[in-house]
Amino acid sequence: MPTFTAVLSEVRLGPGGLSGALDVPPALRPAPGQYLLASSGDPTDPLPAALFPATPPDAPLRVAPPLPAHWSGGMRLHLRGPLGHGFHLPEPARRVALAALDSAPELLLPLAHLALRSGAAVALYAAQPPQGLPDAVEALPLELLAEALSWADYLAAAFPLSSLPALRRLCALAPHQQFSMETQGLVLATMPCGGAALCGACAVLTGRGWKHACADGPVFSLNLLEEAG
């Protein structure tokens, strides 16, 4: 697994916490939903943090909030990755719904750009629209998410695993009811080992047994995720 260093710059504080820019070679950039595992270089800082892209693959890389609160601009980060399985925008998707629940909507920005470029109509359901949201994306409140199920042909969401029941409620799904369209969810879990150990901290219960968000995800089909996890 490649390891490399990059300088964190243009650190901004937004509603979701700190975000920043990283000068990362194109081959090492995470695709939408993939991540880099980053450490500050401070030996007393015991845990690396997962950094997700907030910009499309051909734009300078910004990483989504929240970065660790003690990180600052100019800091050289040690990085491992790109790691995990990201989003896969289905070829025929023409109406794309994105939903950020209890998470930064910036996580879905790269996917929004890709969907727009493919000619799809895009709506983002979030508590607050992110900075840099393209004008062509319709920003809607999460409370309207159930409507997306009647018009979208692809739904992508970002949420902590503990919010899966709330996501299903927002989508007005009955218990055990499956989504009728193609869906994917970026499961936000603490992934301290980044797949190096399969330590179990990010274990996710799916219809195909226990999976690791760090290595098998962090993007899963929403129909595969089970609430007991």
Partner: protein
């Protein structure tokens, strides 16, 4: 009593649970890896704990996962061939639930090519007498490294363990407790550079027993490793430090 020698190609190792079940393609130190310690293996499959948690504290973190693993039989099916091909000694880290499981697991590993040592951890609630019974049951043809968590590295039972003929003591991650969600206490293993003074202290306290000591907690830098080796550690194990990809 003849103490078996621990198989090590160098004094730098990984700790159980830090690098999975098979040696990694890359190792972040210039010195070669002395041995590879597997992820903890139980006799039967273990699923993740329902209340998994990772809780940071100053200088470290508490991890509670339930040590999920597919069980010894599945692990052997998946990894025995890679262990046989490994260019360094494989230490199988076992987490039996009782002494008879320990004996059964050790017996099944004795003829597995590449496995040159057993490292044994006790269940969280096991007392000193049970610890001695686990160690006795796990003593077989393979050298046994017995894990002593830093919070239990004192008392007469450690000297008794030394007398049993274990090949080494691994001074391993202690357990602790932190308030979790809704202030409910969460117990788990502790990791981080904040443990360094404890591992150094345990190392010095147990040195007179004459058992090779492996410092397996709180090692987060090359300077930490060098200090522990200078203080008499036979080897050092890096745990979560390896997840950063550099040391």
């Amino acid at each position: 009593m003849i103490r078996p020698e621990i198989p090590l190609a160098s004094p730098y190792m990984n700790a159980a649970g830090s690098l999975g079940f098979a040696p990694p393609a890359a190792w972040p130190l210039p010195e070669r890896m002395g041995a590879f310690v597997t992820h903890p293996i139980s006799l039967a499959r273990r699923t993740p704990a329902a209340s998994r948690a990772l809780l940071p504290f100053a200088g470290g973190f508490l991890l509670h996962t339930g040590l999920p693993n597919p069980g010894l039989r599945t692990v052997l099916r998946a990894y025995a061939a890679r262990w046989a091909r490994a260019s360094l000694p494989i230490w199988a880290h076992l987490i039996p639930e009782n002494p008879s499981q320990a004996a059964e697991m050790v017996a099944r590993l004795e003829n597995v090519e590449g496995v040159l040592a057993i490292e044994l951890s006790l269940p969280p609630g096991a007392g000193p007498q049970e610890g001695l019974e686990f160690a006795s049951a796990a003593l077989g043809e393979l050298p046994l490294a017995f894990c002593i968590p830093l919070d239990r590295a004192a008392g007469p039972w450690v000297a008794e363990l030394a007398g049993l003929g274990v090949a080494a003591f691994t001074l391993s991650a202690p357990r602790g407790c932190l308030p979790g969600p809704a202030a409910m206490p969460v117990s788990g293993r502790l990791y981080g550079p904040a443990l360094f003074p404890q591992v150094m202290s345990a190392l010095l306290a147990l040195k007179p027993l004459g058992v090779p000591l492996i410092a397996g907690a709180g090692v987060f830098s090359r300077a930490d490793a060098a200090a522990l080796l200078s203080a008499g550690a036979a080897a050092v194990q890096f745990d979560a430090a390896l997840w950063k990809g550099y040391i």
